[in-house]
């Protein structure tokens, strides 16, 4: 079968897209399997946004540890330096200012809106109807790879046991 040039290009683009997709998947899976776990304690959000369907808004306790006045008015995005304690629960160290990091310190991204710090991801997705399972969640489970990239991999209960649907 002889393909016309446009079809050849279309197939080439498709291959490129799929390669890109699968490299990203493998990359993230590596982070999940080899990454180090850090628990971020959840602050109660009242009311929890279960009405919004299949996701939950998250707030983290460490967000409140950022002292007032550290951030300038225009700083709407940035990184917090956190460190895990003996139970791998994250403690606030300082706001990151470009300096190199000591061993075991982790960077998490935050957004600031109306003066409030929000660590992202600040939402957790689950299937519609599974909201009840997650009502008692106490921790957000993060996994960090050696390059410092991280994922929110799930929510955990008071004993830091992952909640599975």
């Amino acid at each position: 079968m002889k393909l016309d040039p446009r079809t050849t290009v279309a197939i080439g683009l498709t291959v490129a897209i799929l390669v890109l997709f699968n490299i990203s998947i493998i990359d993230r899976e590596k982070t999940i399997s080899n990454g180090k776990t850090l628990f971020l304690e959840l602050a109660p959000v009242d009311p929890r946004s279960l009405m919004q369907g299949d996701y939950m808004r998250l707030r983290y306790v460490v967000e409140d540890s950022v002292p007032d006045g550290v951030l300038k008015e225009h700083e709407k995005r940035g990184y917090l330096v956190l460190r895990g304690d003996s139970a791998n629960v994250a403690r606030f160290v300082r706001v990151h200012d470009g300096e190199s990091l000591e061993q075991e310190a982790r960077l998490v991204r935050f957004h600031r809106q109306f003066g409030r710090i929000r660590i992202v991801p600040d939402s957790f997705f689950f299937q519609e109807g599974h909201g009840e399972l997650y009502e008692d969640a106490q921790y957000g489970m993060f996994r960090f790879d050696e390059r410092g990239r991280y994922l929110l991999v799930g929510l955990a209960d008071t004993n830091r046991v992952p909640i599975e649907p």
Partner: protein, 369 residues
């Protein structure tokens, strides 16, 4: 555009009585040809009414009437239409079925299966499109389907691996990934999808990454107007060069609406603002100039009654905003008087626009034909 007039001479050969004379002579009396305003046969529009009247006056046999109607409205035209309609509705339903399938079975499907099935869908769509050929509608619709699936993949990816990435990153990636397919698709709906995704990406980028100061916040409308205005310009350029897939009427309608919205919001905000910011001034003035450009383009260069009407009505909304500003500052605290006079002003503005549009409509129509 109407099809060429049927050959009445030929049709009446089998007729019951006198043949219709040809050339610059009065036509059948049913057309009301009176003395001086005689029409020549090539000025008579060929349509169903003409055929029926000729038949009613006995100039056509039943067979000739049937042949003429078949010529004017080919039987397969509606089947073509319904086939297109079913193609579009079917693709839309199949795609939304895919989306609901994933939503309903979310936690039962392991991530690898989610990713694999979307990728298989993409491969199947592009594969089938290659077999059918990208020059045919079926193939092109399949590429649109593959482009939607790329968005679905990115959404699923963002939910399985929660990195806190901003939504603009998803839309930007989507826009970049399907750009190549759009370029080779030669298919207006594919470009419409791309443009919609890109508009959302630009808007979200502005809010989530560009983080403008209040002084600069309105500049996004200038960007959106440029994006959609450029798309409209490319559309008109392509249409003039005889690229028929881009010259479809709905592409002009869609792009004109998109461009006008991005011009209308800052223009009307500017005329109402007491203390406009820099970006309000820039985007607002651009909005006002944009209205003038669109108006002159569709009034003179590419006469189009619909596009002129849309631009004039959008301009009326800007004028109305200006009227509100003037009246509320003139009448001050008297809100009842402000709103009453604003109502009257609105009536005057829109009525004037209507009268004007009706007066130019015949010229535009003639130029368009």
């Amino acid at each position: 555009m109407s099809p060429p007039a049927p050959d009445i001479d030929a049709a009446t050969e089998t007729g019951r009585d006198k043949p219709v004379p040809y050339g610059p002579v009065p036509c059948a009396p049913a057309f009301g040809a009176r003395g001086e305003d005689r029409m020549t046969i090539d000025q008579v529009p060929a349509n169903r009414r003409l055929v029926e009247e000729l038949y009613a006056h006995g100039y056509l046999t039943t067979a000739a009437r049937q042949a003429a109607l078949e010529f004017l409205n080919p039987r397969d035209q509606w089947t073509l239409w319904i086939s297109r309609l079913l193609l579009v509705v079917g693709s839309a339903l199949a795609l939304s079925g895919v989306v609901y399938f994933f939503a309903f079975n979310w936690s039962q499907i392991p991530p690898i299966a989610k990713f694999a099935s979307i990728q298989i869908g993409i491969v199947a769509a592009v594969g089938a499109a290659s077999v059918w050929g990208l020059t045919r509608t079926h193939g092109q619709v399949l590429v649109v389907g593959a482009s939607v699936l790329v968005g679905v993949f990115l959404a699923v990816f963002g939910q399985v691996y929660q990195t806190g990435a901003d939504a603009f990153e998803l839309f930007t990636a989507w826009s970049v990934l399907i750009l190549g397919w759009s370029v080779i698709s030669n298919f207006a709906p594919q470009w419409a999808l791309w443009l919609a995704v890109t508009n959302v990406a630009l808007g979200l980028w502005w809010r989530q990454a560009a983080l403008p100061t209040e002084e600069m916040a309105f500049l996004i409308y200038a960007y959106l107007a440029l994006l959609n205005g450029m798309a409209l310009a490319v559309r008109e350029w392509g249409a003039l060069r005889g690229v028929d897939w881009i010259a479809r009427r709905w592409t002009r309608v869609l792009l004109t609406i998109a461009t006008l919205l991005a011009l209308l919001v800052p223009a009307s905000t500017l005329v109402m603002a007491d203390d406009p910011t820099t970006s309000m001034l820039v985007a607002g003035i651009m909005g006002l100039i944009g209205h003038v450009v669109l108006y002159s383009a569709y009034r003179h260069l590419l006469p189009d009654a619909w596009a002129v009407s849309a631009t004039v009505l959008s301009g009326c909304l800007v004028l109305d905003a200006a009227a509100y500003r003037i009246l509320s500052s003139a009448l001050g605290d008297n809100t009842a008087a402000t709103w009453l006079s604003l109502g009257l002003a609105t009536l005057v503005i829109f009525a004037t626009a209507m009268v004007y549009l009706r007066s130019i409509a015949p010229k535009l129509k003639a130029a368009h034909d």
